[in-house]
Symmetry: C2
Subunit: 492 residues, 2 copies
């Protein structure tokens, strides 16, 4: 989830100046508008330690008119608060109609930290998040606008900031030591789970890359301004999931996605390829028998651009596995019987038995890729699918299965070259159709769909592997290596 | 929750015959209609042991056309099923578009039984129910009609049937011993929690009194027929809570409610009253100090008909308690500040500190009583309020507070008599207004609202006490005795 925000976005000083000026005027105006129409606005500022939540809030206090705006931090509970149910402290600070409240962490801080510290388990965290969903649903139904911002730092930047903090902490008594890398990791696990359960159509999360301070503040301001303006113009998303929503905040004009992070230069010589191929295939073969003995099932999903080499990669993998142990499932148009059921039914029914493997050439992700881009699923349908898919995969994982997900990434040039080759080669000609050319025309739409897919469904338990596939050798080896590593890790 | 269904409803043989004939024709017709419009119907048959779920399903198989209908029981998991995630067994048996599936227990059976047996805790049960909600939401969004029936037996009938079963079990090897009273109780706790979490606008529960077999089967058939016909006519409730829904199934024409169970003849002599009054007041006084020492807060809610004697009962109670320990809060029209917040805000803010007491003369239940009947809240608002109130109260209980809820019940005659008295008595005249007379005109609407309120919000942790208040002495003593018993139980 969080890897989708680590894009290295930044903003120059000059750009910041221009944007800030514009933004301030906008924020002041919309604050007055919503005060007049008596809409309560709640801004929740959350994120990893060191991301500068305090600086963001200071900025908001500078940008907004302080009259009609309050900021609340929830550090240690007061005696007054301890004597009441947990949510009492939040209720007493909820904004009245027409005013704005900024809450540090809000109702997220405590459960996330307690889960990260190991004092509550998954079920208890989920329960807290369920309560949170209900609370937010209730407040939103009552007319409140809730804007939830999550500030993320990449691991290196986080470590750098924590080091700085530790240096300060040695001299200044009130500064804590900051999260260690281990704590940071546990924190992200809890955070991801919490965000996933509370990212609803009415109260979506906005994830902001906080490595660059100027980008961070302008992004935050822009999201707030946009949501408040939408609300002022009367948009009130009533149906969860009805609003198209990209959780990763980018500044208008900047269109980086997670796919830009894939190093498409990666390549392997023929010799290296052959050497690695036979080594990994032997290892995967052995591991597949170990999985069989351990009665552990494996599900692998292959998605990617047309002509990215999914078929070839799958073949190199299945060559390594005893034919009795796997089924390769090519997902084409659904049968009549499948059409008579929910779209996930066809995948549930094919679920492998304990110890066996299923390899999907295209999968349930069609819902948020081709069905989204081609308009075969309605917006609220594919929006809802992220959660449906996460729930589905969570059930696989809970049952003890291994799930691997690959996106084979190539550049448009390489695709064009491969399309042309296919047209020229007699035995490959059938592989290229009108449709492939049409899909190619929608490259940018797919790029965006892939980015949203990774942002929503790359979870700690079921991460996506983005494979650099301009070089086919490299793609196949990357897939085999990942399969080997993941199987090994799961079985050890 | 379940007490609201224990109304002793039954059906004569002759009535059954007539109703059955009509029902069969209707069910067959609507089955064909939905087959044509390709709507999948899933009927979940659940409830306590001995309620006759098998008999109901046999009846449905007789009533419907067996082609296009399947019945599934989920006893022990097969090896095939054990090798897949838990929900796999349900997915494989989901009805295709145009057909009907009946599931015994469905996805409810396992979590409820495991919670009742103590092998999963509250958080884990809630998580399972959260998953269930999502599953049902997803299937409903895909066009499925899900009808959930819960068959309940009162404790005496349950015990009688279990005894019979135990007698049979001695001779027949395949018959189990049946639930003991203790198991029955644990089962109801788990069931109530599960039903409460999964009673949504799209997939509401229908609770059917199963003591009388004829009533049980006709009720079930009528609910199914009604829901299928609504669906055929194109009603597709999209917004949770948008449909007016009475969870307690009654047969059209029969209008019994839980209020009919209150024995309005109960009365006390002046002497008995005085004796009990001073005894209970002394005990409550002592207990209120114990609660203070234990830092345990108490919240009491008084609702009831106009002129039912709430004020008098509250006064007899507060007379017993040191004035420093309690606050009596009379809930009148909200202030400006309160209007600027969610309707629950005014109650959150008044929440007593640890060890103190708050007595509410009218309360948050106004949302589902006066606001519902007078149309001050929209249907989806008061429908959603049941869950909101349950969540709110659950937080009080979790925090360790004691919550007591009283409904003071009188007959319409007694109310009339008291209204007249008030009009004649100079110092009581101010207590009777135009509004009281207007409310009186809506007696039946209020009766229904009270019934739904009890059905939805009388939970194991926060039950309603229905007080027989035709006799004021009796009402006051019943309130005092309940307060004493509940405080004692909580503090011991």
């Amino acid at each position: 989830m969080f890897e989708a925000i680590e894009l290295g976005q930044s903003l120059s000083k000059a750009d910041f100046k221009t944007q800030e000026q514009h933004l301030r005027a906008e924020l002041l105006k919309v604050q007055r508008d919503l005060a007049e129409s008596r809409v309560a606005t709640l801004i929740i500022v959350a994120g990893v330690e060191g991301a500068g939540k305090g600086e963001v809030v200071d900025r908001l206090n500078k940008w907004f008119d302080n009259r009609g705006m309050e900021t609340h931090a929830f550090w240690d509970e007061t005696q007054e608060e301890l004597e009441r149910p947990q949510h009492w402290r939040f209720w007493r600070h909820l904004p009245a109609r027409g005013s704005i409240a900024v809450m540090f962490g809000g109702w997220y801080w405590d459960p996330i930290h307690r889960h990260a510290a190991g004092s509550i388990d998954d079920a208890e965290l989920d329960e807290a998040m369920q309560r949170t969903r209900e609370l937010e649903r209730m407040l939103t139904a009552d007319g409140m606008l809730i804007i939830k911002l999550w500030f993320h730092l990449s691991h290196p930047t986080h470590e750098k900031r924590m080091k700085k903090r530790r240096a300060v902490a040695r001299h200044v008594p009130h500064v804590s030591n900051g999260q260690s890398p281990k704590e940071y990791k546990a924190f992200l696990v809890a955070a991801e789970r919490s965000l996933r359960h509370t990212d609803t159509g009415k109260c979506p999360w906005y994830m902001i890359e906080a490595d660059n301070r100027r980008f961070r503040d302008i992004s935050a301001g822009q999201v707030i301004s946009r949501r408040m303006n939408e609300r002022h113009r009367g948009h009130r998303t009533e149906d969860p999931g009805s609003e198209e929503h990209n959780p990763v905040v980018t500044i208008s004009g900047h269109q980086k996605t997670i796919l830009d992070k894939v190093d498409l230069e990666a390549a392997l010589s023929h010799d290296d390829y052959n050497k690695l191929l036979s080594r990994y295939q032997a290892q995967v073969n052995e591991l597949s028998w170990r999985a069989y003995d351990a009665k552990c099932s494996t599900v692998m999903v292959f998605e990617g651009w047309d002509a990215a080499g999914k078929g070839g990669a799958i073949r190199r993998l299945t060559n390594a596995i005893d034919a009795r142990l796997f089924r390769a499932i090519s997902v084409a148009a659904p049968t009549d019987e499948e059409l008579a059921h929910h779209y996930l039914w066809r995948f549930w029914r094919r679920f492998p038995r304990a110890g066996y493997m299923a390899l999907y050439d295209r999968s349930w992700y069609g819902r948020v890729l081709v069905e989204r881009v081609e308009g075969l699923a309605q917006k609220h349908e594919w929006m809802a699918a992220y959660k449906e898919i996460n729930d589905f995969e969570e059930q696989l994982i809970e049952h003890g299965s291994i799930l691997l997900k690959f996106w084979l990434h190539i550049s448009p040039d390489v695709q064009l070259q491969r399309f042309r080759e296919r047209e020229k080669t007699p035995w490959k000609k059938h592989k290229i159709t009108e449709e492939d050319w049409r899909n190619r025309g929608k490259w940018d739409d797919y790029r965006r769909a892939v980015n949203d897919m990774v942002a929503h469904t790359s979870t700690g338990n079921c991460p996506w592997t983005l494979v650099s596939a301009n070089d086919k050798y490299n793609a196949r080896i990357e897939v085999l290596r990942t399969v080997r590593d993941q199987l090994k890790q799961a079985l050890d």
